[in-house]
Amino acid sequence: MNLRIDENQVAFSIVSELKSINEKLDRIIDVLERLSGSYTLMERRNLKFGRVLDVLTLLSLPDNLRKTAMAMCKLNEATADQIAEETGRKRAVESSLLNQLARMGYLRKKRVGRKVYFYLK
């Protein structure tokens, strides 16, 4: 019998597997950060009190962070995937920049189901 593999279906399942791996990684990173106490005092203070992403603050950020921050201003609340779509950069890149902005206190993070959302506070 000639077994034909549907390439589309294979690609589709690989993508969805990768998505779920990404989501799991997000959670692992989150837990590790909490456990390892890797936040500096400054970062902990930022997280607690938060900082505001107004336009003049945006201008003071390094270029790569600014682009992500601007996209957050547009969307207000978003996943790394949605930001990647807005900026045209890779999801992994955006995920790391979003986490950096969250550490700096500009964004908050929450989990809804399996997804991690970032939002302006």
Partner: protein, 262 residues
């Protein structure tokens, strides 16, 4: 039906009195005369200007209320196209000129300003639902939250400058420190140009190239200084009452260049 332009134009300058408001108003009328649908918003909360022209049109809601999240943009806009017999529609949104409102806006904190930027960014979807070709922002001079928010939320950022040394140097810094950082391709409009002798077409082009080199940006037009423009000020609208005046002819060329921006 013609495809709508759906673009937001911000008119900024570093120094005051470069001609932003006069240019914003006349551009809006020129577009509407041509049959485009336009809205002009006064975002100069320190020194609101548009209400002097549209005094009878003062609405219950102002652009202040829109940014304060007290109303929608539709509540602010007044349609003045009937009054001026314009082919397209022209909506104006006035800022609150009361001392109390100016005081209130000066005291806003950075968090409010962040929300204000988001409100302005949201106009991108309103522009479509209202069937507009352009929204034009008139702003306060200098680096103020309200003005930079306007620039940051625009598709076609225009910087109006005179050719005075201090003005050009400041405009250049503003382009580098603000517009480049925001990844905005800015268009410079030189106004109040004084020349000793009448210039030929190629003479103008030489001057434009020179400023484009200095500013590393596109110069979208040069408008000479006219004593009668200064004299008339805001008593009437040049684009309507003096359509043959060279001030209007120059602005028409600018409007056409704006129309051809992708």
């Amino acid at each position: 039906m013609k495809v709508k332009r759906e673009k937001v134009i911000s008119i900024n300058s570093l120094r005051g009195g470069t001609g932003k408001s006069l240019i914003a108003i006349n551009l809006a009328f020129l577009f509407a005369k041509k049959g485009l649908n336009v809205s002009i918003l006064d975002l100069d909360f320190r020194a609101p200007t548009l209400y002097t022209l549209f005094e009878g049109e003062l609405q219950e809601y102002t652009t202040n209320d829109f940014l304060n999240n007290k109303c929608s943009i539709e509540d602010v806009l007044v349609d003045v196209s009937g009054k001026y017999k314009l082919k397209g529609r022209l909506f104006v949104g006035l800022a609150d000129p009361s001392l109390e409102a100016i005081h209130d806006m000066i005291n806003k904190d950075s968090k409010w300003e962040m929300r204000a930027l988001q409100r302005l960014l949201s106009l991108k979807s309103t522009i479509r639902s209202l069937g507009l070709d352009y929204i034009i922002y008139d702003t306060s001079p200098g680096i103020l939250y309200s003005s930079i928010n306007a620039a940051a939320s625009s598709d076609i950022p225009i910087l109006v400058s005179t050719v005075d040394n201090a003005d050009i140097a400041g405009t250049r810094r503003m382009i580098k420190e603000i517009y480049s950082a925001l990844e905005k391709k800015v268009f410079v409009l030189l106004n109040k140009f004084v020349s000793r002798e009448p210039l030929s077409e190629s003479g103008w082009n030489v001057i434009i190239r020179r400023f484009e080199n200095t500013l590393k940006s596109r110069v979208i037009g040069i408008i000479p200084c006219f004593c009668d423009v200064l004299e008339v000020g805001y008593q009437y609208i040049f684009a309507l009452n003096r359509p043959e005046h060279p001030f209007v002819k120059n602005l028409e060329a600018v409007a056409e260049r704006i129309n051809s921006i992708k």
